[in-house]
Every structure is written in C-alpha cells, then in structure tokens.
C-alpha cells in the first residue's frame, strides 16, 4: 500500500499507543497545512542540506496549535495561548541557528498573542509564522475572533458581529515582518512554495493561510474549498477586485535580531580594555 510521503516525519505510534490520525475534525484545513509544511521542510532538507535536527516547531493553543501536540518527529513544543512567539524569541537567544516554525491560529496570533505578534515582527526574529486563519475560535466552539467578518453570527455574537476584522498581513507588514505571503488551503503548491521561502528568509516570515472550518461554518469541506478559491484573487490581478489578494505580499529582508545583537556583543567587549 502506498504510504503518504510525509508520514516519515510523523509519529504514528508511540510507547503509549497510536498517535495518528490526528484528532482534528474531518475536512479541517489544519491537516492540509501540516502536509504543505512538511513538504516544504522535506524539500529544504533534500535540496539545501538543511539539517532535520535544526527544525523546531512551536505552537500556541487552538486547533492549528494541536499540530505539535505529539505528532511530529521533530523537536517541538505545544505552549501557551498567544505566547509561541516570545518563546521562539528565547529559543533564538540561546541558539540562533535553529529554524523555528510557529503554527498559530488567528485568535492565538492576533487576539491574546497580538502584542507578541507585533514585537516579534518589529524585531525581525528569524521565525516562520504559519497562521491558519479560519476566522473564528474553533477549539472552543466557534466564537468570534479579530478576523471574523462584520455581521457574522457566532456563539458570542448571536445578534451579529459589530466589529471589523484585522487584515493580518497588513498588520504584519506595519509591524515589520520581512516576508509576508497569503494563500489558502485550496492552493497546495503555492502555499508550500511560500512556506519554503518563509523558512529560507532570514528574518520574520508571516504566512497567512485562509482555511476552512466545516464544523463551525456548517458547510462541507468541498463547498468551503471552492469558496476559498472564489473569494481570493492573485495579487497581480487584485487592483480592480474586491476579493482577498493572495500571493507574495511583501518581501524586504533586513538583518535579524540576533544578527544585530552581534554588534552589541562587539561594543560591549570593545569597551573592556
């Protein structure tokens, strides 16, 4: 029987029993994001000689953050809601050579994690942030999120959402991320490429992946995948469109935080006679 090629990076079993398949809902987009990410990592290991042990996956709390709970045959950590980025910052202070991939969701990144979102990008720490954006809080029942469109009815906006939604990519750009890309789970090849570029970019990379949550949206995965294609448009053609632009939205590399800290170490030691 054919085995999925990315299963080589998955702990299907462990000493305390089966771990795979993952616990996410049927049709959830996070599983696809995991697939695309592992393809990107696999390509980099095979094509550029990146070492497998250099990769570290860190997540916060939420559906997409469950991807690190015990599935990955990599160094990983399933951490605090909204705090994957400051944890990643600390990892890099200790070992700047590690390649950190952060799985986060829209609530994890932009609500409770909002403060850390803007500072990690301002500092341009060398991290790849993969944000699975389903426009709601999936794990806890579908409540409204900072990315939920206005007027939407959710368990905590039963009369309709009166707030506007963040554009996470714009937020990341203003904060200072050096590579920003937006795709959807309906764009496997492009998303994988974007993740590869994000990891390769020395600096803070933000990859937003619009994703379906069939359970809370009460639609089928197929309907939602079609919709993801319909509501988005390539950045090149987005000028005259109201649709959500997808593609590479920003790329302006600059020195990372740890690269700049080298000058601090130099100065601190120059002053010692």
């Amino acid at each position: 029987m054919l085995k999925h090629p990315m299963l080589k990076y998955i702990n299907e079993e462990g000493p305390s029993g089966k771990r795979f398949p993952h616990l996410l809902c049927p049709g959830c987009g996070a599983g696809q994001v995991l697939n695309y990410t592992l393809h990107a990592v696999d390509d980099l290991i095979n094509q550029t000689g990146a070492k497998k042990e250099a990769f570290v996956f860190i997540s916060g709390v939420g559906c997409s953050s469950r991807l690190t709970s015990h599935y990955l045959n990599f160094d990983s950590a399933w951490t605090l809601h909204g705090r994957a980025l400051p944890i990643a910052t600390g990892v890099l202070l200790a070992n700047p050579e590690l390649k950190i991939i952060v799985f986060t969701g829209d609530g994890d990144a932009a609500a409770i994690g909002g403060n850390h979102f803007i500072h990690a990008f301002r500092r341009n720490i060398n991290v790849t942030v993969i944000c699975v954006n389903n426009g709601l809080y999936g794990m806890t029942g579908g409540q409204v999120a900072p990315t939920t469109p206005p007027f939407t009815s959710t368990p905590t906006t039963p009369y309709g959402n009166i707030e506007d939604a963040f554009d996470l990519c714009k937020l990341a750009e203003v904060a200072g991320a050096s590579y920003i890309s937006r795709w959807t789970t309906a764009h496997p090849i492009q998303t994988t490429k974007a993740i590869k570029k994000g990891i390769t970019n020395k600096g803070a990379s933000f990859i937003e992946i619009l994703s379906q949550c069939p359970v809370h949206e009460h639609q089928t995965p197929v309907e939602m995948t079609k919709a993801l294609k319909e509501i988005t448009v390539s950045i090149k053609k987005s000028m005259d469109s109201n649709k959500i632009p997808v593609g590479e939205l920003h790329f302006a590399p600059r020195p990372t935080w740890t690269e700049r800290y080298e000058s601090v170490i130099e100065k601190a030691n120059e002053m010692i006679s």
């Binding site: 462990g14 000493p15 305390s16 029993g17 089966k18 771990r19 616990l23 497998k52 042990e53 250099a54 570290v56 860190i58 690190t68 709970s69 015990h70 990955l72 045959n73 990599f74 160094d75 990983s76 950590a77 399933w78 951490t79 605090l80 705090r83 980025l85 400051p86 944890i87 990643a88 910052t89 600390g90 990892v91 890099l92 202070l93 200790a94 070992n95 050579e97 590690l98 403060n115 850390h116 500072h119 935080w257 740890t258 800290y261 080298e262 601090v264 170490i265 130099e266 100065k267 601190a268 030691n269 010692i272």
Partner: protein, 396 residues
C-alpha cells in the same frame, strides 16, 4: 550553540574575581547568575527590580550571553522558557505586579519541567501598592500559579545571599528540572554591602542531566520518563523532544487520556520536589539550646530579627532562639520540627499581615503555647519595635 558567540566574538568580559567586593544586592544577583552559567536574560522594567535587568544588559554580552528587553512580563518569562529548552540557563527579575503576570507561564514551566530562575523583588500591594519593601508575595510564590504543582522559592537576606542564593537557584532549577523563585525585596536588592567571592573553582555549578549522559538514544528517549527527574534533551540535538503541558504520558503524548496517567503525572511532579524537601530546603538557626522562645523569620526581616534576638538575650536575659528560613518552599516542616522542642512562644515577624505564619503554625502548633505574628507593611521592622513586642510577651 550559545558558546559559539563566546568563541567567535572573543568576549573579553570576565566573571567577578575572588575577593572582597562592595556591591548592591541587584549587582550581586547578576554576578552570581553569570557565574552559575546564565546566558540569557529577558526582562521588563519595573520598580524596584529594574537595576537587576540593567546590570544584566551590560554584563551578559561581555561574557557571550544575550539580553533582551521584552514587551511585557509575560513575554519575558516565556522567552526564558524557550531559551531553557534550547539549552541556556536563563533568568529574569520583576516585582510583585509583574510576578502576578508571570503565573500562567510559571504553571506551564512546572508542568513542562523547565529550568529557569525568576527573581521577585517584592513591593507592597495590592495593585500598584507602593515601591518600598515587602514580603507580600510569599504565598503567591507557592500558590499563585494555577494547579497543583510544587515550586522552589528562596529568601535572600543580604548581598552575600543575593550572590550565593542566585547560584543555588540555578543549581536547584537544573538539578530538579523546575522553575526556582528568588523572593527578594526592595531592601536587599538596593542595600550595598561587602560580598566575599570565593575561589571560582570552589563554587559548585550544576547542569541538567541529559539523555546522552545516560546513554539513552533518541529512539528510546522519553521526555518525561526514565527517572523522577527526567533527563532533558535540548532543542537541536536530534532527540525530537516534545514539550507539552496537557496531562501527558512519559513519552509526551496526550492521547489515551486516563485518570491514572493524569494522577501519576501530578504525583511525580509533587514527589519530585515535596518528596525531596529535606534535601532541597535549607534553614539556619542560632541560640536554640534550651531556649524558651524562638523567633522565625526570612528575607530582610532576618536582619532585624537577629538584631532583636541578640538584644533581648544580651540586655534582658531572655532565652530566645533564632531561626531563618533560607528556603520558603518546599516548606521545611520536618527540619523545623527537629530543631525545636517545647517553647512558650514562636514569634513570626513578616513584612505582610501574616503569611508564612500559617505553615509555621501548622508545623509547630503542638510545640509551643502560642504563635505570635509580627506584621509590618511597607518598611523593614525596626529592632526597637520587635524588642518591645518580644519583651511585652515574654516578661508578663
């Protein structure tokens, strides 16, 4: 990893030299941390703890470490967690309001068994309170983090302690794979006095035990297994370690939940620290031979406590003994019980309305006629006040 910065950049900074120094408590704390091997400091400014952070920002790059001022206290302690996972010894310092913010991350560190050191330079509360001295967080130290999870907390009384107990805190955190708190206060952080640094090779520095040390291969490695203190692999060593704070099995997996596994998880964490209290916790005492009363204190209050005890003994002839808790948590109940036979009064001066008096009373109520708390808020007890209170009780 971290060491490459030191080699490549030719860091010329040195550790503090053996001999006699004159330092502020904050400085002594940082120098102790550097000697203990601290390589990462992440902090956030707060009165009266900012001096510790400022010293760290100057000294760390000199010895090849890295310093960062984060965007808040929550991210500061989170950065320590990440640094520790990548193999670095990491510390931060804050004051009481910041300490409150750190509690979720402390709970997480206990469950993930992450070594790190947090200094709380206590100030009065609640809320903004004030910026002078206090011991109002000593219960928060043990019970502020949610969930059942033990912790180690030390109470420095001098500049020498700020140096020595910081080294001890790092050693304890590495040995027991746990966060360790240094419950300082504004008095001891800002006082300036002599520090005697011994020959550096006489100072014991411990590091975490790793699976490589026990010949455990990556395939056989259980991140929360093998021993009551699980050996800890660092990121980047190919051990595919998975840190998780949901109730977990020894292999780190969170599936197949059962009450048995959950309870085992918590029981082992509890046993690891509380079960080893006699090895971990330290207590100092004087004048206990046939004393009629005893004064038990900790932190800066020990300075006034000892002054008052000596005066009451030497000038007034009252046989009162003195005990200083160096370790607040795990609470050294057995050690205290072994130190005291029957006494009439146990005096407990604290810079709060009475916190450690509760476990003291719990441990020693049957060994005395009464426990007298001696509260003070916002200032170090004056010896006259303690002496008068002791005389009032002991000479009636």
């Amino acid at each position: 990893m971290v060491e490459t910065a030191l080699k490549e950049k030719k860091c010329r900074g040195e550790f503090i030299k053996p001999g006699r120094h004159y330092l502020e408590g904050s400085e002594a704390c940082v120098e102790g941390a550097l000697l203990a091997g601290m390589k990462v400091y992440a902090g956030y400014p707060i009165t009266p703890a900012s001096e510790i952070m400022e010293h760290a920002s100057r000294r760390l790059p000199q010895v090849g470490g890295r310093f960062i001022q984060m965007e808040d206290e929550i991210s500061a302690v989170c950065a320590l967690i990440g640094a520790s996972w990548a193999g670095a010894k990491a510390m931060t310092a804050t004051s009481s309001p910041g300490f409150s913010l750190m509690q979720e991350a402390i709970s997480f560190s206990i469950m993930t068994e992450t070594p790190l050191v947090i200094v709380d330079v206590q100030r009065p509360g609640p809320g903004q309170g004030y910026i002078t001295t206090s011991q109002e967080d000593v219960m928060q130290a043990r019970y502020g983090h949610h969930g059942e999870g033990p912790i180690i907390a030390l109470a420095p009384s001098s500049v020498q302690d700020m140096f020595e107990l910081t080294i001890e805190a790092f050693n304890l955190s590495e040995k027991w794979r746990t966060p360790v708190l240094i419950m300082a206060d504004e008095t001891v952080a800002h006082m300036r006095e002599q520090l005697i640094v011994p020959e550096l090779d006489t100072i014991e520095i411990l590091g975490r035990r790793k699976p490589q040390d026990l010949n455990i291969s990556p395939e056989a490695y259980l991140p929360y297994g093998h021993d009551i203190v699980p050996p800890m692999a660092n990121f980047g060593e190919g051990y595919n370690i998975n840190h998780v704070s949901l109730a977990h099995h020894a292999d780190g997996s969170v599936g197949n939940y059962s009450l048995e596994v959950h309870r085992e998880n918590i029981e082992r964490l509890h046993q690891k620290i509380e079960g080893n209290v006699n090895e971990i916790a330290r207590v100092e005492s004087q004048f206990l031979d046939d004393c009629d009363h005893v004064l038990i204190c900790y932190g800066s209050v020990a300075r006034t406590g000892l002054e008052a005890v000596r005066e009451v003994r030497e000038v007034h002839g009252i046989k009162i003994g003195f005990i200083r808790l160096v370790t607040l948590w795990p609470f050294p109940e057995e050690k205290l019980r072994n130190l005291i036979s029957m006494v009439k009064t146990i005096f407990v001066p604290e810079m709060n309305l009475g916190m450690i008096k509760h476990p003291i009373t719990g441990a020693l109520r049957d060994k005395c006629d009464q426990v007298i708390p001696m509260p003070e808020i916002g200032v170090l007890h004056h010896p006259d006040k303690l002496v008068n209170q002791i005389l009032e009780v002991t000479t009636c």
